[in-house]
Symmetry: C2
Subunit: 180 residues, 2 copies
């Protein structure tokens, strides 16, 4: 049995999609995910919009209604029958997000025990065999093996095993096949 730590934003929850929607409404823009290839959000918008764009995320409800990433539920349900799955999210970067993130996990991942939810900042504190994350910076101090979950902003990051979607995660870890 492996212990697999899984990030939330851009891995199981589509935070970028929600950020783009809110940005487009706020600035009457028509950005799409393709616009953010190889870039973090703040670097892909006009400098004068950055502060407002930051504030769009730092609200109590931003994380309440995020879409689930395709296949995340089916694959994590499958993996959690064989392995220990922990959700490890850098929630300390967005302190208003705690309750919304907790409720979102209960709603969309009811098969994971809440005792396996971890809200942290510095992920070097996590003891696990694998960390599936879209931010490679966490892998530098992580004790286990980092697996880079493909996201627009990390398209140019090299040096880590990359998975493009949850179907590929399932292939990596599971001896059972699962429909996603």
């Amino acid at each position: 049995m492996l212990r697999i730590a899984v990030d939330m934003d851009e891995v199981i929850a589509d935070a970028l999609g929600e950020h783009i929607s809110r940005y487009n409404r706020e600035f009457n823009a028509e950005l799409e995910k393709a616009h953010f290839m190889g870039k973090h959000f703040r670097d892909a918008i006009p400098a004068e919009h950055r502060e407002a764009a930051f504030r769009l995320v730092h609200t109590r409800d931003f994380f309440a209604n995020l879409e689930v990433m395709p296949g995340a539920q089916e694959v994590l349900r499958n993996l959690s029958s064989e392995h220990e799955v922990f959700i490890t999210t850098a929630a300390m970067e967005v302190p208003l997000s705690f309750e919304a993130k907790y409720q979102w996990l209960l709603t969309h991942f009811p098969f994971l025990p809440p005792m396996n939810f971890v809200f942290c900042g510095d992920k070097s504190i996590i003891r696990a065999d694998y960390l599936i994350d879209d931010n490679a910076r966490h892998f530098k101090t992580f004790i286990g093996t980092g697996i880079l979950f493909d996201a627009p902003h990390n398209r140019d990051v090299r040096g880590y095993q990359r998975v493009r979607n949850w179907f590929e995660v399932n292939e990596l870890f599971s001896r059972q096949q699962v429909a996603v």
Copy 2:
């Protein structure tokens, strides 16, 4: 440099004191800490009060105004100059507590980086050299060394190094002396 993980309730925050105050107000009682020696809160009160006593803790503000345990600030400020200090609290057991706990840490431990705060449930996920905690059950799966912080409920627990207060923690870890 060591990494020292530190629990919140009964270790740096006097949750039992607040629980007793609220219980006494609710039931017009006059309990004191001495009443809880060797017992968890629920086992030291009449069975018919247990549900109400549980609800006293599960509020948004319970954790907002807890007293700091004597010496915790001075000793952690001192230890954090030599070691890595993380606050690791089983907040998932009380999901309404997230914001109050975060604000309380910012207020009383402003010298600790919020990226070192961890809200978790199962503490086996914590990678650290030491865990200072009043609940010995976390030590069973913790990878490092558990240090039992003395509390009324754990008075009869054996098998772990016990510290009676923050002055003793300081003696254990620090090469500098500190006034507490």
